[in-house]
Amino acid sequence: MSDPLTVMVPNEGALDAQLSRREELVLLKLFVPPYYYGDYLAFGAAGEPLGVLSPVAVSVLREAEERPARALVCGPGRDGPDPERVDALSELVMRGLVAPGASAPPLHEIAPDKGGGTRHTGRGADLFIRHFYRYFGDCFGDGSPLIDSHGDFLPVLEPYFPPPRPAAVCLDAGAGSGHYAAALARLGHHVYACDIDRARLEAVAARSAGAGTIQGLQCDLQDIPLPDGCVDFAMSVFVLEHVADPYAVTEELVRLLRPGGTLLLAVPSFNIRDTMAAWLHGELPTLNFEHLRSYGLVPRTHPWCEPLLDVSAHLRACGVEVTTVLGVNVLSDLWEPWASALAQIAAAHGPAFASTWPWNHLGRQTVFHGRKTP
């Protein structure tokens, strides 16, 4: 099949065709070196993932609002067609993302800014969170290492769970597939499993609760429909990095805790790949499939973008005595010679390594445990 635009470009008349983008898109800037740096993962209006768009393609899409093809292939400040933009536009036309027409649906973009925050245009954040989690949950099931280290991480959290007796009232904020909620229920506790997505709550309901019970709550985590002080134990495991305002969610969890109740938070933290991105490129990654940290979209309010001491300070300001800040799995996912160098440091520190500053801040995941002060 011949390429429609390369056929069209030599034709001066066709270059005057008015083109517009045809679909409402959500674009998430990617950091997946070496192949995808600065490209965008695109989702359609219905939440279906469409593939990856190059920066040039996104640039063309941004301008495709009833613009002649001639202007789109030239780009700003050029008289003649830019071959890359010609290729990009022809691929967009072939995929049906750009077509003749007057209306241009909105384009939502999510990308890091140089200041460590997140640039966000349109209502992309909310759309993306819903779309991406439905898609990701559809493709990678429970037990997958791409889903928040499910299988491996439970032993790290279990020591902080309430003991089996007496039965406690627990809350899992952002329950997902219910892996952790079910583990709590098996200890005999009553667990409120909160999630924004109904399909995920249906998955939770299908799980065995053992001696306990699980009650699903479909809700926004900033506004959980439960009264103050009704929960003995609240946890949020690899969720705060995916919400619009993690500190607001944290405050909501503290509101629900009774005095003396305990709070357990697990969030991803900087790993070597992210660190290199920051050093070499001066920006934070938006998509690292272990932790999609930066699209939460309230600039400078993400625990993983902030010094962890600030997170601890915030928890204390909320009335939580922080008892543990633990970096987990520090030596995994490192490349040589970093892994060997850190292994030597770890050996020199002995078992205290995992809990000694600053090494406790280098884990792939960080666990906060605290108690609500009376």
């Binding site: 993932p49 469409l50 593939g51 990856v52 768009l53 995929r95 099931g141 037990g143 490349w335």
Partner: protein, 209 residues
Amino acid sequence: MTTRLRRHVEALDTFWADYLRTLCQASPAAAPVGPQLDLLFGNLTRHEVEPSPRLPLTIRCSDCRNNRGARRDSVCSTHVGAVRGTLEARQGVPLEVDYEPSEEGSCRMIVAIAGTRDGRPVVALAQRADHVALGSDGLAHWADDRRAGVRVPITPLSWAILQAAAQPISVAAAAARLGVEAGAVAQVLDQLHRCGWVRTTFEPDSPTS
């Protein structure tokens, strides 16, 4: 597989193949193919790998929970891409996946060596591994495997092929240089590859290969 022409609109399966290949190369897995794929996809589906010592490899997914209705395109496209990237990292060769969906959630993937890259035919190039040194006294021929710490007597043909593979070389080029049948060269290279003495890369065909 380090160079690849990028498109401006990349399909989902290509993206996931690239992502998983990069991820798996950073932390190579030692598990057999089936368990590794089961681990990657969690409880989404089960992978049955039909035992075969060589490609093509047939993988059957059974009891897939999500390949139905509107979800199929994105789920299966992601699945096929992730399988391809994972296996490319393991095999070190460009692969293509022929995918046959089924309504019952029991789909079949046939994984084979990709004959082309970016539209250009690829050719397999063999190169002697760094830890293998050759020796000969005119009558006997041997290879020193420094990794295993052993000296192994080898046939004159194997010795000549390993000598020729000091630089990357195709089966056809080696056969022409040594004046032997290409089938014989391929058979010996297969054995050498299996014992880790030869690395194989796949590059677009060129007059020099």
